[in-house]
Symmetry: C2
DNA sequence: CGGTTAATTTGAACATGTTCAAGTTAGAGC
DNA sequence: GCTCTAACTTGAACATGTTCAAATTAACCG
């Protein structure tokens, strides 16, 4: 069940070559059309060897996700160090997600369903995927905290997690998007990120105070439970 | 790909007995632990015969969903004909969802992931599952329209679909819920349904008018696109 | 009843994710 | 350099979803 870490130079090489072959094939043929045998073949190792390093096909997807996350983080680094406006930071960040993932659009559907499975080790709400999720949430923490927006403390606390969830929603929309250049998704991102920033601003209104406390309290209790 | 409808008395019987065996086994052992061979065995037919009536194992799940939907609709009928308060109607309806689904809690996880797969015929956002989805949305239409709440027309138009989506979120939460008697989910339902009704009421405030128009416009354009 | 056709049924065959016991390799300790 | 152990590698075997061509059944027509 646990991911085997190579203890040897040879092991490291094998693991790397298997992973690389898997990433290539996932992009070429999609997740389901890529067989474990094809991965082993292209990596030049035996079928059993693949399973020595990756307990299941799903675990290879987890690495795939980490890979795209790193691409994404690198892509938005300049924006985050230059820009101070929250709406712009958020829009740029989420746009970068779908741009980064674009090469994998065809694969994304089946991967998403694998990830959504609560009993999968990849499920982002628990288990093996926790470190990666924490990284992504932390990234949205930077988006929020590096901006010049003045955000109430109780909102600022929950916002990164909320944005991570929001990003998953966008990705799910994007998977279905058949518009040329995925323009539809980009439009939705522009509109929703702007709306989010607007609503965060409105949350200080006296009439909304009660509901805001309740929403945040509920979210907090869910996260902690 | 299309679901084969039996053209014969014998065919109807076979289809029914296969489906019944599948529903039983899903409950007994869960979705993944139930093999097509086991279903065929219990139904007293051959493996190939099962595939004559259900193009895939997933299609059997679709029937499973229809089954629970009918249980649910029956369970809330008295409430809907008696009660006029929107919050009460909504709370009762969503509570009834998780109560109805409780016997299938162990199965729900893998089913959910199957359903979430965009390329699955079961995906509620398109294809084979559309009739069932329409039924559920229609049911939330009754919940809203049968209440004495005065709701602006633009909100009333999108509310049933939104509530259907909300129900899916609750079900996903419920899947993870390990609390005794699934009390945690019931608490969340009580809190969120109340919040929803509250926020619908607040949406008429002048300060929220702009955001409300934008949110509804966005939702509408997504649904139509 | 005999024949013809469509529906139904069957089980073998296939593809693929996964397991595992046995074989091979490499490096540490002497 | 030899030995021993842990790491690594292998390929056969297994389980299960799915396909398919052939066999069987039922029903309708004359």
């Amino acid at each position: 069940m646990a991911i085997e870490a190579p203890k040897t130079k040879r092991g490291e090489t094998s693991r790397a070559v298997i992973l690389s072959a898997a990433l290539d094939l996932f992009q070429e043929r999609g997740y389901e059309a890529t067989t474990m045998r094809a991965i082993a073949d292209r990596a030049g190792v035996s079928l059993g060897s693949s399973y020595h390093y990756f307990p299941s096909k799903e675990h290879l997807v987890l690495e795939f996700y980490r890979h795209t996350h790193e691409l994404h983080a690198a892509a938005i680094a300049p924006l985050l160090s230059r820009e101070k406006d929250l709406a712009t930071r958020l829009r740029g960040t989420v746009r970068a997600v779908v741009v980064t993932c674009e090469p994998f659009h065809a694969v994304a559907g089946s991967i998403f369903s694998t990830v959504a499975n609560p009993s999968s080790p990849l499920n982002p709400f628990g288990g093996a995927a926790k470190p990666l999720r924490d990284d992504v949430v932390e990234l949205y923490g930077q988006v929020v905290n590096g901006s010049d927006a003045r955000i109430p403390a109780d909102i600022a606390e929950m916002l990164p997690l909320t944005l991570w969830l929001y990003q998953m929603g966008i990705l799910y929309f994007w998977i279905f998007d058949r518009s040329p250049g995925r323009l539809r998704t980009l439009e939705v991102i522009d509109e929703t990120t702007d709306l989010i920033v607007r609503l965060v601003g409105l949350a200080n209104l006296p009439v909304l105070r009660g509901s805001r406390k309740r929403v945040l309290g509920l979210m907090k209790s869910i996260v902690e439970g």
